[in-house]
């Protein structure tokens, strides 16, 4: 027996990168905009998708992939609105990856916008590119006004940052401006929206951003 050293130069993330690229190519070929909706548990991700479907269903064709560890509750909520939807159960995993999305993406070649709701979590999904065009990160004031500062990486890589439930800020003693400033200082290029979905605050601003993203499709 003797010992040898073998040089590898292997990218451990290469499989996810390859499948994300294939997903992106599929979406681009069919003119679909995919939005990875990320955020904490209970921050309002599913409700954002539901309300967006209701607001835009006469304007654009929407599809949705709903990621969850187990259970299909989010899928059932979204499918009720009459759009094409697919549940994705990750089993033991705390995030979606490009491989899981790859299994179902071909069903969505005929939509304009594909929402991919990630597992509720501000850490694990960050480094797994799904092949999306945009990342939307949603948090709510009830998670504490230091939640942005405590999770810099997910906010740094976001295209849109939504701070939801602002109507509850006073009750939970959260400083919304601090959250906005933390987000701005981490990611000056992101669109930041102060929102309260249940009170319809900031929702028009979100729809405006989405319409703008749709108009710039393929540019």
């Amino acid at each position: 027996m003797h010992r040898i050293e073998v040089d590898a130069e292997y990218d451990v993330l290469s499989l996810n990168k390859r499948l994300a690229k294939e997903n992106r190519e599929f979406l681009s070929k069919h003119g679909v905009i995919a939005i990875n909706v990320m955020g904490a548990i209970g921050s309002g991700k599913t409700l954002l998708i539901e309300k967006t479907i209701e607001a835009l269903k006469d304007e654009v064709k929407i599809g949705a992939i709903l990621g969850d560890v187990i259970a299909k509750d989010d899928y059932e909520r979204v499918a009720r609105h009459g759009v094409k939807a697919e549940p994705l159960n990750t089993g033991k995993e705390c995030h979606l990856d490009a491989h899981l999305v790859h299994h179902v993406i071909e069903k969505f070649g005929d939509v304009d916008v594909l929402f991919i709701e990630n597992v509720g979590n501000l850490i694990c999904p960050v480094d797994f590119d799904l092949g999306e065009n945009y990342r939307v990160v949603m948090v709510s004031v009830t998670e504490g006004d230091d939640v942005v500062k405590k999770h810099p990486e997910i906010f740094r890589l976001a295209d849109v940052i939504i701070i939801n439930k602002i109507a509850l800020a006073e009750a939970v003693e959260a400083n919304v401006d601090k959250m906005v400033n933390d987000a701005k200082s981490l990611n000056p290029k992101a669109k930041i929206i102060k929102m309260d979905l249940k009170k319809n605050i900031g929702f028009e601003e979100w729809l405006e951003w989405l319409r703008c993203a749709l108009r710039s499709r393929g540019e």
């Binding site: 010992r3 050293e5 590898a8 990218d11 995030h95 990856d97 694990c124 990486e153 290029k189």
Partner: protein, 111 residues
């Protein structure tokens, strides 16, 4: 625990290279990991040791070298150690690298 996904991808490649070289045992695995990749090295080691049980990579040591990202103001050129979006001068800060996960080298025993 997303470290399990990483550990599995790593183990697959390690065992593939081991077979290619007719290895009997894997001693040490050298990795380079970007500091901005959200990975907990202790959890990675734990996951790797759990899934490598019963393979020739069981008991292999993971040696991790961390790689710093380049965080630099696009206006004044000031460099930072921590992630920041805007420099004191008002310039946008660019962040490059720090997201890699590379298997660099494997030490193995062969006949």
């Amino acid at each position: 625990m997303h470290e399990l996904s990483y550990a599995q991808a790593l183990l697959d490649e390690v065992l593939r290279l081991a077979e290619e070289n007719d290895a009997k045992k894997i001693i040490r695995i050298h990795l380079k990991i970007g500091e901005l990749l959200l990975i907990n090295p202790e959890q990675l080691k734990f996951c790797f040791s759990a899934i490598s049980k019963g393979t020739i990579a069981e008991d292999a040591e993971l040696v991790i070298e961390f790689i710093k990202p380049k965080i630099i103001c696009t206006e004044c050129g000031r460099e930072f150690d921590e992630v920041i979006g805007i420099c004191d001068c008002g310039g946008i800060v660019s962040i490059e690298g720090g997201k890699d996960f590379l298997l660099k080298k494997i030490e193995m025993e062969v006949e």
